[in-house]
C-alpha cells in the first residue's frame, strides 16, 4: 500500500508511521508525533507528581527543587496576570499548561524527537481549543451581543467579519506549525545533504536558532494571542 500525505518514508523530515491498525473500517497510524507527545506527557505527569510530593512538605527556606518550581509558577502567573488583569485566576491553569506543553514540544527537537508541534494535527487542535474558549467566553459575557457584533459597523460587512472570526484558529495553528516545520526541515536538510565535516558543531547554532529561539518566541506568541483574544471577548461586556 502506498503511504500518502505527510506519512511517508521518502524524506527524513516527514512524520513516520510506526505501525498501523484497523478500526471502524479505517487505517490509523501511530506516528512519531504520538510517540513524542506520549514522552512529553509522561514527563509532565512525573514532574507534576514530584512537584506535588515536594510542595506538600514545603519549607520556609526553599531548597533547590522547590525554588525552581516556585520560579516557574510565579513566572507563568505573572505572565497571565499582566495580560488578563482581574480575569487571570480562571485562566492561569490552562495558559500555564499550554505554555509548558508547547514550549517543551518546540524545543524537543534538541533532544532528538521530531517536534510534535511540527504536525498540523497537534497545532490545529490547540488552536481549536483557543477558538472554543473565545466563542464560549464571548457568548457567556456578551450574550447576544457576541453575534450582533458581527454586523457592526454596517450589516454589509457580515461575511468579512465572519471570515475574520473563523480565520483566528487557522492563522494561529499555521503560524506555530509552519515555524516548527521550517526548523525541522532545515535541520533535516543539513543533516542529510551536507558533507560529514560540516555536521559536527555547526548544527548547534542552527538548533539554538530554530529550536530554542524560534520555539520560545512562538510559544510566547501563541499564549499571548490566546490571552489577548479571550480578554478581548470578556472585556467588551
Amino acid at each position: 500500500m502506498k503511504k500518502v500525505g505527510l506519512i511517508s518514508n521518502e524524506a527524513d523530515f516527514m512524520i513516520h508511521g510506526l505501525f498501523s491498525y484497523e478500526a471502524f473500517g479505517q487505517t490509523f497510524w501511530i506516528t512519531t508525533t504520538h510517540v513524542g507527545m506520549i514522552i512529553i506527557t509522561a514527563l509532565f505527569i512525573v514532574l507534576g507528581l514530584v512537584a506535588h510530593h515536594r510542595m506538600k512538605k514545603a519549607e520556609e527556606i526553599p531548597g533547590t527543587l522547590q525554588n525552581i518550581l516556585e520560579l516557574i509558577v510565579e513566572m507563568l502567573d505573572k505572565l497571565v496576570h499582566t495580560n488578563m488583569g482581574k480575569y487571570a485566576g480562571k485562566f492561569a491553569n490552562y495558559i500555564a499548561t499550554l505554555f509548558l506543553f508547547v514550549l517543551i514540544s518546540n524545543i524537543s527537537g534538541i533532544f532528538g524527537l521530531r517536534s510534535p508541534t511540527a504536525d498540523y494535527g497537534v497545532t490545529l487542535m490547540l488552536a481549536l481549543i483557543t477558538f472554543a474558549m473565545i466563542q464560549f467566553n464571548g457568548i457567556k459575557h456578551q450574550k447576544l451581543g457576541h453575534f450582533t457584533a458581527l454586523f457592526k459597523p454596517i450589516p454589509l460587512l457580515f461575511p468579512i467579519n465572519l471570515i475574520g472570526e473563523l480565520a483566528t484558529p487557522l492563522s494561529m495553528s499555521l503560524r506555530l506549525f509552519a515555524n516548527m516545520l521550517s526548523g525541522t526541515i532545515i535541520l533535516a536538510l543539513w543533516y542529510g545533504l551536507i558533507p560529514i565535516f560540516l555536521k559536527i558543531g555547526v548544527p548547534a547554532f542552527l538548533h539554538v536558532y530554530f529550536d530554542l529561539f524560534s520555539g520560545c518566541i512562538q510559544t510566547y506568541v501563541f499564549c499571548m494571542l490566546t490571552m489577548i483574544f479571550v480578554t478581548d471577548k470578556i472585556g467588551e461586556s
Partner: protein
C-alpha cells in the same frame, strides 16, 4: 516521453517556487520593525527590554504571511494534491 502526470509535477515545483515569493513581504516588515525598535532604543535606552519583547512579538506575527507561502509550497511539493 512526458505524460500529463510529469507536467503536473513540473508545474507543482514551479508553483512551489513562486509561492515562496511571499517571503519578500515579511522580510521588509521585519526589517522595518527592527529599524524602528533600534531607533526607539537609541532614544530611550532604559526601555530596551520592553522594546525588544514588543519587537519580537510583532515580528513573529508579521512572519505569518510568509509562512502561509511556505505551507502552500510544502503542500504542492509533498502532499501532491493534483496527482
Amino acid at each position: 516521453m512526458f505524460s500529463g502526470q510529469d507536467l503536473i509535477y513540473a508545474c507543482s515545483a514551479i508553483g512551489a517556487g513562486l509561492a515562496m515569493i511571499a517571503g519578500i513581504g515579511p522580510g521588509i516588515g521585519q526589517g522595518i520593525a527592527a529599524g524602528y525598535a533600534a531607533s526607539a532604543v537609541g532614544r530611550n535606552p532604559g526601555a530596551k527590554g520592553d522594546i525588544t519583547t514588543t519587537m519580537l512579538l510583532g515580528q513573529a506575527v508579521a512572519e505569518t504571511t510568509g509562512l502561509y507561502g511556505l505551507a502552500v509550497a510544502f503542500i504542492l511539493m509533498f502532499v501532491k494534491p493534483f496527482s
